[in-house]
Amino acid sequence: MSGLFRRLAPRTGAVIPFTIDGAPAEARAGDLLLAAILLHRRSLRRFEFGSGERAGYCLMGACQDCWVALADGRRVRACTTPVEPGMPVVTGVADG
């Protein structure tokens, strides 16, 4: 299914391969992790205190809604973290 975000300004920089729940995905140089994920998916993570999913909220590092897990054990705040080649994002959310 399509992602939530829509790219309006084309990017000419390098393609950055990463993975979301094991599936290959592509970002562009200059993409923050939050945007890179939301170009492909409609949420970033499950809400751990109830039902539903979350996709971030303030995008300025204040609300802490966008912390995502990486398969290597790291947890990162996706709105302030640039996407890096090979980042293995784990959302725990079924795509679709």
Binding site: L4, F5, R11, S43, F49, L59, C63, P82
Partner: protein, 458 residues
Amino acid sequence: MAEPVVAIVGGGPAGLRAAQVLAEAGLRPLLLDEGHRAGGQIYRRPPAGAERPATELYGFEAGRARALHDLADALAPRIDHRPGTMVWGIAPREPVGFDLDCLGPAGHGRIPVDRLILATGAMDRTLPFPGWTLPGVFTLGAAQIALKAQGMAIGRRVALVGAGPLLPLVAHQYAKAGATIVAVLDVTPLGAKVAAAPRLAAMPATLAKGVWYTLRGALRGVPVRAGVRAVAVEGDRQVEALAWEDSRGRRHRVPCDAVGASFGLRSEAQAADLAGCRFVFDPLTRQWQPERSAEGRSSHAHVYLAGDGSGIGGADVAELQGARTALALLADLGRPRDAAREARLDRRLDRQAGFRAALEAAYPYPHHLVEGIADDEIVCRCEGITAGAIRRTATERDAREMNRLKALTRTGMGRCQGRVCGHAAAEILALTLTVPVEAVGRLRGQAPIKPIPLREPA
């Protein structure tokens, strides 16, 4: 005598202007900024690889944004700039000064400083409404950052809701960038804007262009409405539609997949709290803010304040205050004063205060949204605590004050430390107890003011 160590927290318009004044006086201030590139949020610079022309990114403010970014580049060799650095703790030192606990690219560190200028900025003020925790609902500020920092829209069909000048501004920017806007809804009445119009007409360009009417022409066929009530996002797993009630009580609904919604701004003041500053309640914006003199002094002899972090004034005011507070600091260090420059800044700040009052009058506080919050609505989005839980705790367990409410319900104890829910929780608590909102106090700031990962990137 050794030069005093002055640290500026925040690299937006206020922090950069403060750094400029200190550098001109021969000091080498520390500039600690969470951003990867100086500029702050309103003039946020895209990451490397995502650059675009300033006129596309900042529109009317391109000149100001460029001037500030050029200033940041010019200052680089004359200040100790630490980008990507979060100040998460501030502890007093004996006999004077502070230890700043920081987390930056090189890991954790503790920096001793003599004086502090806090220019910590603001974030969107939020209120709960049905569906506001669905993925795809963001703040207006977030919608703007997606566009400015990433060249992206938050959705394919975007609805925008607000109670301040950011609403028409974001709508205008989205429309100009080619995004699809399906509704622009102001929860404050049109009459307030009409009444304030004569005073708003003299406003700086940043705000004047946000005037409501121009937007209607630009977004033909799209509902652009003021006086909207009972806003609700519909959808099960994701955003499917936005519903609202118009000023005549009729219900409307428009399909969409993303919503940008927030209701004014709130100061990011937790650092000032840790530094020991006294707070005062500002009835105009209904929030507690660190007490700041006209020159930018706080209640603490070694702490100075500038910009939205100590009172919402916008970017132009932040620049003026940044310069002004740095001059006050230099005066306190016994440096020669430039009375003419001080007076010039004071005059300009005086004029801005009038604009600000008119602007707040144009966008009065949306009490109807607070009154309409249902018991099952999530208020604390970190931990899912509802309005009903807050109301029950207020009446059944005698929680008459915000920190007691926090202790009993965990409201404001989650990851965001009450940044998002604190304002709404106070309004709900005050309404339940039928007391003025200032009577329930404010959440105390506690270190770490933002989450610190236990395991850092190597």
